[in-house]
């Protein structure tokens, strides 16, 4: 789960990171009093859960409250990569004499938390990791011990030879690590971490992604989710406990299992068409899940045919068949359905679907080909 910069700043501040004060606003005129309160200059920052807002004009400096209102007016309502700016952050501005990058992820190789730092701030870390890996220092942290003093020393000296700055960096690294672990973060970035001309270190941007699987133990963080930043279908899918990703093609897919769902998309492409979505109904799927899946796909007006591809294991084919029949009846589907059901209770399912206008297929290949044929018809 992604959260807004403003909320990420709040979390960082709570863990003791040096974050300049800021406030969310949703109406431009609120920018005046907030700028007054924080003290100018301020930065006006679009709150959208997508990268590249700076280049899109979503971040502007304001030297007085009046300008803050103007800038907020310009940014609110702006469209950035398909997302509408509905919230803006007003943050006290900091003069910058030096910028660093500091970020954390879980390293899949060592299966341990990994801190990455660079003496160049504001970068795209993954791009730099490819193009100039020597500019990045990666430090694997052992959760047994947490970040160790020898590691913070090494990191600080990688970034600076200024002892006053180095002294402030140790606590920054430690707080970031602590925040990352305690909130079950999957990504936590300060980009950039800056040094102001008076030698003080500030975290002037904040990005935090949270491990979705951990949200049950972070009620407070779950409340920060902003559904307006996602495709409506994806929000609906999450509520129905389905995995769904919207794509641009014409063949809707309902599949059990993420790997098989990707393979189905890939096969649609392989046979010359484009999938309209990724959709995994998960393991022990009930008829209700199939119904929800169908509803979500039907939102998409590009869909010309729907392919149901099930390899029953935990998932029982008859449950899926029941869901399909229910959906047919309740949703009045007029888009052709191609159905391939194999595995647990396959016979029962075939019996249920006999005599309906659903197109049946014996193999995945056949199902994909038939769906494309129908969509292109």
């Amino acid at each position: 789960m992604k959260i807004h910069e403003g909320d990420a700043r709040g979390i960082f501040a709570a863990f003791g990171l040096p974050v300049p004060p800021s406030r969310f606003i949703t109406k431009a005129e609120e920018a005046g009093p907030v700028a007054e309160e924080l003290g100018c200059p301020v930065v006006v920052k679009a709150q959208v859960l997508v990268g590249g807002r700076g280049k899109a004009g979503g971040v502007k400096l304001a030297s007085d409250p009046i300008e803050a209102v103007e800038k907020a007016k310009a940014i609110l309502g702006m469209d950035i990569k398909g997302l509408t700016v509905e919230k803006v952050l007003i943050a006290k501005a900091v003069d910058i004499s030096k910028e660093f990058y500091v970020g954390m992820v879980v390293d899949r190789i060592t299966r341990k938390p990994l801190m990455m730092i660079s003496a160049e701030g504001g970068i795209d870390i993954e791009e730099v990791a490819k193009s100039a890996p020597e500019k990045i220092l990666k430090v694997v942290i052992d959760p047994i011990t947490g970040l160790l003093p020898f590691q913070t020393r090494k990191m600080a000296s990688f970034l600076t030879s200024d002892k006053d700055v180095a002294r402030q960096l140790g606590p920054v690294f430690r707080s970031l690590y602590q925040a990352f672990m305690e909130i079950d973060s999957s990504l936590a970035e300060i980009n950039p971490l800056v040094v102001s001309p008076d030698g003080k270190v500030w975290a002037i941007d904040a990005k935090i992604n949270i491990d979705d699987n951990s949200l049950y133990r972070h009620e407070d963080i779950r409340a920060l989710r902003d559904d307006s930043m996602e495709d409506a279908g994806e929000v609906e899918a999450r509520e129905a406990d389905l995995s769904f990703v919207k794509l641009d093609g014409s063949i809707g897919c309902i599949v059990n299992g993420a790997g098989l769902a990707m393979a189905t998309m890939d096969m649609i492409k392989y046979y010359g068409a484009e999938p309209a979505n990724f959709l995994d109904i998960g393991g022990s799927s009930s008829p209700e899940k199939v119904l929800s899946a169908m509803k979500i796909i039907l939102r998409d007006k590009n869909v010309k045919a729907i392919l149901v591809n099930i390899f029953g294991g935990i998932t029982r084919c008859d449950d899926v068949a029941k869901g399909l029949l229910e959906a047919k009846k309740r949703l009045g589907i007029d888009i052709p359905l191609v159905v391939r059901l194999t595995g647990t209770n396959e016979e029962e399912a075939r019996e249920l679907l006999r005599g309906t206008e659903l197109v049946s297929a014996d193999t995945m290949d056949e199902g994909v080909k038939k769906a494309i044929e129908i969509a292109n018809a």
Binding site: V106, D211, R217, G257, L260, A261, K269, I314
Partner: protein
């Protein structure tokens, strides 16, 4: 031989009185797996319909049954504790079917089990099957066939699809292993390859990868440097858009890394043929054997 499980496997089902645990315990018994017991705290003393004794905790279960393997069907938030408990009780192999575990839980699970010599498969794994010998997981047993091809996969149903084509084409399997779709797992692609490398009954290995992470690239490297078995591969997610999680917590392309293209290219460089569709794997393997 096979890897991980065989006729000597003595299995405890953790969460045996739950819906999934109960159903699959029966399925495993029916397949011929030696299910020696189950554990559900507070339900010790009962027996399942199949006559499997239920214990209150793993220590008791292991002491009473001499179990060496466990499979976990408890809800995600209790799964880490179930793994700790199994490892503490001396279980050698824990297969974690449970999905939805926070990554942080695995970060403490892994050093703990390593210290105690326990191997973990998963979480979010469909399990392990050594056809004709033992099945520990949720895969449909009847699509498998005894043979000499090892299958290792990050996926569940996609594996069934591929195994089904193998079996239909007369190609049996030594062991099929689903390592799980999470980013942090107990046994990864490379660990599984090591196991197959040392199994005299495995002549070829099918690697079923997907987007996210770099294990497939590392696997390709190992093969290039000289891997003792023939290998065929399939990579799911060629059409997956970047930055989006494709069902599995670990299936995501970030910052241009973990793409299907990179993985396919790495395999091609290592001389491994990558199937374009699941059905093609059977043909490639036939050609290799």
């Amino acid at each position: 031989m096979s890897i991980l499980i065989d006729k000597n496997t003595r299995l405890i089902v953790q969460g045996i009185t739950g819906r999934d645990g109960g159903f699959h315990a029966s399925q495993m018994v029916a397949y011929g797996t030696n299910v020696v017991g189950g554990v559900t705290p507070g339900k010790g003393g009962m027996k399942t319909e199949d006559g499997v004794p239920v214990f209150d905790n793993m220590e008791e279960a292991v002491n009473e049954t001499g179990a060496n393997t466990s499979v976990i069907y408890v809800p995600a938030r209790f799964a880490a504790d179930a793994i700790f408990e199994a490892s503490d009780a001396g279980i050698e192999l824990v297969v974690c079917i449970a999905e939805g575990l926070p990554v942080r839980d695995m970060l403490s699970v892994l050093p703990y089990v390593r210290e105690r010599g326990t191997r973990v498969i998963g979480p979010n794994s469909p399990g392990v099957i050594s056809p004709g010998r033992s099945k520990v997981g949720i895969m449909p047993g009847d699509i498998h066939k005894e043979g000499n091809v090892g299958v290792v996969s990050r996926s569940g149903t996609l594996t069934y699809e591929i195994v089904y084509h193998l079996t239909v084409n007369g190609i049996g399997q030594s062991t099929c292993l689903g390592i799980g779709g999470d980013p942090v797992i107990g046994t990864n692609l490379l660990d599984a390859m090591d196991l197959f490398a040392n199994d005299p009954e495995t002549d070829a290995v099918v690697l079923i990868g997907e987007i996210g992470g770099n294990d497939e690239e590392k696997a390709a490297r190992i093969i290039k440097d000289g891997y003792p078995k023939k290998v065929a591969a399939f990579i799911a997610g060629r059409t997956a858009p970047p930055g989006k999680r494709m069902g599995h917590a670990g299936a995501i392309v970030t910052g241009g890394t973990g793409t299907a293209e990179e993985k396919i290219k790495a395999f091609a460089d290592a001389g491994v043929e990558v199937a374009e569709t699941p059905a093609q794997i059977a043909g490639i393997i036939s050609g290799l054997l």
